[in-house]
């Protein structure tokens, strides 16, 4: 019996789509919230009415090493789920940069945690103080939310409102307020990056 390919067909959304499909890669080391960030980004895109696939590569080895989470966002059904060359890259750690953070499409963006600059002097991309900001905010763990905010603040990959909704849906109530603040700070951080596209 022949069955249909997917069961879903969302209406085309409103987000400004740089590329269609738009391929985003988030990377860092275990514990930095990469996968949660990917999930929230995907949910925001979904909220925007787009098709989305989120995948992840991690391993027991990757608990310390590099892991990545990829999100493909499109107005059409998405066939190939992984990302060969990303349009947007977010990167939190040295190892992740070395493994996943160097490649990007010509008009894409690479956003890097500031401290990578010290460890990899020739690293290329936009450096933003995710870690420091998180610490200042009082919670190291909001690193990923700040960075996600920055990504969206810069690129409008998804709408801010959708991302706010996604954050609300995924966060435990006790951490929500803090992270809502983190997100707004992230939007600002990202919005301030000079757009050379």
């Amino acid at each position: 019996m022949s069955t249909s390919t997917t069961g879903s067909s969302p209406a085309l959304g409103v987000a400004r789509v740089l590329h269609d499909p738009l391929r985003v890669r988030l990377s860092g080391r275990g514990g930095q919230g990469i996968i949660l960030a990917g999930t929230m980004l995907a949910e925001a895109a979904m909220e925007d009415g787009l098709y989305v696939v989120q995948t992840q590569t991690y391993g027991p080895e990757a608990r310390l090493g590099a892991s990545k989470s990829e999100v493909v966002i499109s107005s059409r059904e998405i066939a190939f789920p992984e990302v060969s060359v990303p349009d947007l890259v977010l990167c939190f750690s040295r190892d992740a940069y070395l493994k996943y953070g160097k490649q990007v499409t010509p008009d894409g963006f690479i956003l890097l945690e500031e401290t990578i600059r010290q460890e990899v002097p020739d690293a290329r991309g936009h450096f933003l103080p995710f870690r420091r900001t998180a610490r200042e905010l009082g919670n190291d763990l909001s690193l990923n939310v700040i960075a996600l905010g920055a990504l969206v603040g810069l690129t409008q990959a998804v709408t801010r409102d959708s991302l706010r909704k996604a954050l609300k849906a995924r966060m435990k109530p006790e951490f929500l307020e803090l992270n809502e603040r983190a997100l707004e700070i992230g939007f600002e951080l990202g919005g301030a990056v000079p757009q050379n596209v």
Partner: protein, 377 residues
């Protein structure tokens, strides 16, 4: 519309299909199914139990089936290997049970977090002795949902273990989905009398405690269930009976997708996660003037020879991309029996084929066979 992970879809589908028993042992990349069932089962009044190993997991699931449950277990390669003996027991005792194997790189511990399709043949032949199983697969989250429900339905209908093959990418992948309303085959308790033959042809599955004192054994047995003289013939009759029923219903139990097959010179034959790149590849090939088409199987076993023959009738070549070194291509080649070349495209390094890699292979194949539409560069 929800963003759902592949493993989550399997657990949700199982609950939808009426699964009320889950036994398992953690293993990457199948663990989330178990973790979700640990939360779901108590909420729905079903049973969740973490067993001491995978041998115990499938044993408990079979025991639960005979206790009247719709039972499931999930694992990955190493655990799937350990389950083989008792999978055969389920075959021999005609027990409905659903086994999910999320494939990772192997053999042995291999590449625990990376995808593979190394268990395509093991799913069919992994346990000792002759037997039939039904093996399904999926390439998207929504399909994982659908195929899980179908796995339960088929296991109920044929009283067979049904194996669902996933892989590390699909298990961990999230997509936004709207779950289709897949009909569920409910188990009806038949009225039975003292002449009831629990292993007669087409006999319904009647669990313990029903009043009929059934004997269930992995030894050869006749229709009463008892291991009697001439058991060899009895077991052959049962095994052939299953084979015949499945062959008879082949069209109903073979799930597949097709794409642009009508005039295809080159047929890509895929299953599971590989189908996604193939869909894109067919588009790219057509755009390049190569008449490519796709036959994407969700039912791997019983082997849909009839379908493959039907769909490749006019093909000039068949390309079988697999995340292994060439497994399913063998029965495909046997089926096609020389009517056209059947080429294997394999890898086992934990990576997916990109659409581009498939395009390249298809073009090379077309080129070597001088199939029209390919620029000879």
């Amino acid at each position: 519309m929800r963003l759902v992970q592949g493993n989550e879809a399997v657990a949700l589908a199982a609950v939808h299909a009426g699964c009320n028993f889950y036994s398992g042992y953690p293993i990457t990349p199948a663990t989330e199914i178990m973790e979700m069932m640990a939360r779901q089962m108590p909420k729905t009044g079903g049973v969740f139990i973490q067993m001491e190993d995978e041998i115990g997991s499938i044993a408990a699931a079979i025991g639960a089936a005979w206790g009247g449950a719709k039972a499931m277990t999930a694992t990955s390669g190493p655990g799937f290997s350990l389950m083989q003996e008792n999978l055969g027991y389920a075959c021999m005792t005609q027990t409905p049970v659903v086994v999910v194997d999320s494939q990772r790189g192997g053999p042995s511990t291999g590449l625990p977090t990376l995808p593979a399709q190394g268990e395509v043949m093991q799913a069919r032949y992994g346990t000792h002795g002759d037997h039939e199983v039904i093996v399904l697969t999926a390439s998207s989250v929504v399909e994982a949902y659908r195929m899980t429900v179908e796995a339960f339905n088929l296991s109920e209908r044929y009283r067979l273990p049904v194996i669902l093959l996933l892989d590390a990418v699909l298990s961990h992948m999230r997509e936004n989905v709207e779950f289709p309303d897949v009909p569920v085959r409910e188990r009806v308790m038949p009225t039975i009398d003292e002449n009831f033959l629990p292993f007669g042809p087409d006999a319904p599955f009647v669990p313990f405690g029903s009043g009929h004192h059934t004997v269930v054994t992995g030894m050869s047995h006749d229709e009463t269930g008892l291991p009697k003289a001439l058991a060899g013939q009895a077991v052959q009759r049962i095994l052939r009976g299953v084979q015949d029923r499945l062959a008879h219903d082949a069209r109903e139990i073979t799930f597949y997708h097709e794409m642009e097959l009508a005039d295809a010179d080159i047929v890509l034959l895929t299953y599971g996660i590989t189908a996604r790149a193939a869909r894109e590849a067919v588009g790219l090939l057509r755009a390049d003037g190569v008449k490519a088409g796709l036959l994407d199987l969700q039912t791997l076993w019983p082997f849909p020879e009839w379908l493959i023959l039907e769909k490749t009738q006019a093909a000039k070549a068949v390309l079988v991309p697999e995340l292994n070194l060439g497994q399913y291509v063998i029965p495909v080649r046997a089926a096609i029996a020389g009517r056209c070349p059947v080429e294997s495209l394999g890898r086992c390094d934990g990576e997916l084929f990109t659409p581009e890699a498939m395009v390249e292979a298809a073009k090379a194949l077309a080129h070597s066979l001088e199939i029209g539409g390919v620029a000879h560069d």
